[in-house]
């Protein structure tokens, strides 16, 4: 257990300490003036814009995954044996496929010789090639396809536990479909729903690989900003300050989502293990 102290807690403490220092001329960290100047610098409109973009992208991804994922989880829960196995496989295989392979597959789909581009030129749609191959649309598509299973699996687990006869009962008692969804089903699957949403939102907020590979040069997000500060600009204190802000955002999201849904999600990951 001291493992966590040495490799998790102390390193996290170091981020906090570094965020208060300043960058040395040759990229090191100096602590001659300890203050919050890095945080003040983060309030610059450029960085607020990046923060806003990241929040927007993470929120849009979560909502889209919800819209696309709920019907999948529902279908998994209500379908019967031979079919169900195939459907589960269709969700679990992308989930356990190498992350970078999935991102690459999206890149291939959107590439200039890709089928989507061909389809658009056949239909004569006015979508410009540049906007398709890289930029916000590509990043969104990449995020949604990659994070969809993270929402579907915990949601499926909680719908699976639901007793469907309660819906019949609600109907017999005169509830409309909308009423029985919100008053009967939703309260009982809330746990899976919330942990699924958190498991999409949290990594999406700090995502680096998808915007880096699919976003082109124009899409700057928190994850890319932090990476840039650490690996290119070599301004570690500023990068550390941005990371602290990212942790704060995640903490807010977790607090909004309720206590410790991580355990439920951890178990659903385990359930999805082949």
């Amino acid at each position: 257990m001291s493992w966590f102290a040495v490799f998790l807690l102390i390193p996290l403490g170091f981020i906090l300490v570094y965020s208060l220092g300043r960058r040395g001329t040759y990229g090191g960290v100096l602590f001659d003036q300890v203050d919050i100047r890095n945080y003040i610098r983060a309030l610059d409109p450029i960085y607020i814009g990046i923060l806003w973009q990241s929040l927007k992208l993470a929120t849009l991804t979560t909502v889209s995954c919800l819209i696309l994922g709920f019907p999948i989880a529902w279908l998994l829960a209500i379908s019967k044996k031979p079919w169900r196995n195939w459907l589960v496989l269709a969700v679990v295989v992308p989930f356990w496929t190498n992350f970078i392979v999935r991102v690459y597959a999206i890149k291939l789909l959107l590439s200039e010789q890709g089928p989507l581009q061909a389809l658009i030129s056949v239909l004569g749609l006015p979508l410009l090639p540049e906007t398709l191959g890289s930029g916000f649309f590509a990043v969104m598509l990449g995020m949604i396809t990659n994070y969809l299973p993270f929402l579907v699996l915990p949601l499926w687990v909680s719908i699976e536990k639901f007793d469907f006869t309660q819906l019949e009962a609600a109907k017999d008692l005169g509830a409309t479909r909308v009423q029985s969804f919100f008053r009967v089903l939703l309260p009982q699957i809330r746990g899976g729903l919330v942990s699924g949403m958190i498991f999409v939102f949290t990594p999406a907020l700090g995502e680096f690989l998808i915007p880096d590979l699919l976003g082109g040069a124009r899409t700057m997000l928190l994850g890319n900003l932090i990476t840039e500060q650490f690996l290119k600009a070599r301004d570690w204190p500023f990068g550390a300050a941005i990371s602290i802000l990212l942790i704060a955002l995640v903490a807010v999201a977790l607090a909004l989502g309720g206590r410790a849904p991580a355990r439920a999600a951890g178990q659903s990951k385990e359930g999805a293990l082949p």
Partner: protein, 262 residues
């Protein structure tokens, strides 16, 4: 048998867009790996050409080997550490700081990968640990242990402790109780935790990206730099092979357990 609602056409139709999004890119990848398009005529033909190219790509196979090696070590270490932690959490009643430990265990599950990556980078640089295979394994163990603990602990709390009591009453020493009763019962959970730890390690890009330095080249890192240079058809072949392994393992898993969640 549970009563389930009827699978209506509309519920299938509603789920369709999501399935398309999940599967179409992967199917495309598989098809592309078997096709060579002639630059002159623009005609395509089926071939295994890219698989041979992949075989000849020394850097890629070396990266694959180092990924397997790192995955093996980090899975081994995190399974041992995670099982020990789960045992102490589940078996020793309440000890001071147990609640705190519980919440610390959740941190790697929710912490953005990038933050863990830079935290470890700062720490390793501060300690002057040479960035290389060692730092990568240490980092991978850190994010895998929690998953092993969760898995093994769920199993420990799931079985009847009276089995252990009975063994003790029959005169077994505490080592014998562990060796003959507890261990065989938690072994499946340990294996599943180890598999998960291996997959997490084999998959990880971002944390490895920060803590690998110049010494190690894991498969995701190699693939990343190849993608940056442009779309390379050998990657289609590699991805198809990796996909095949995933499908195989998932299929085997289903055969054994039947598709039930939780």
């Amino acid at each position: 048998m549970k009563t389930l609602p009827r699978v209506s056409a509309s519920s299938v139709a509603a789920a369709l867009p999501g399935f398309v999004l999940l599967l179409v890119p992967l199917v495309l990848l598989v098809i592309r790996s078997f096709v060579v398009r002639s630059p002159l005529t623009g005609e395509s033909e089926w071939t295994l050409h890219w698989y041979f190219k992949l075989w000849e790509n020394g850097a890629l196979t070396a990266a694959l080997l180092s990924s397997l090696w790192i995955g093996l070590w980090s899975s081994l270490i995190s399974t041992v550490l995670g099982t020990l932690a789960a045992l102490s959490l589940a078996r020793s009643g309440g000890f001071p700081g147990k609640k705190l430990l519980d919440s610390i265990l959740q941190i790697p599950l929710v912490l953005p990968e990038i933050v863990m990556g830079i935290a470890l980078l700062i720490w390793f640089v501060f300690l002057s640990v040479t960035l290389g295979s060692l730092s990568v394994v240490l980092a991978h163990v850190t994010f895998s242990v929690s998953y092993v603990v969760l898995t093994v602990r769920a199993r420990l709390e799931g079985f009847d402790t009276s089995l252990e009591d009975a063994a003790r009453d029959l005169g077994a020493s505490s080592w014998q109780v562990f060796r003959r009763v507890t261990f065989p019962l938690i072994l499946p959970a340990m294996i599943s935790g180890a598999l998960m730890a291996f997959t997490l390690s084999f998959d990880d890009f971002l944390i490895t990206f920060f803590v690998s330095g110049v010494g190690v080249d894991t498969l995701p890192l190699r693939v990343y730099s190849m993608i940056r240079f442009g779309v390379s058809p050998e990657l289609n072949a590699l991805s198809t092979l990796l996909l095949g392994v995933t499908v195989l393992l998932a299929g085997l898993g289903f055969k054994k357990s039947g598709a039930t969640p939780g």
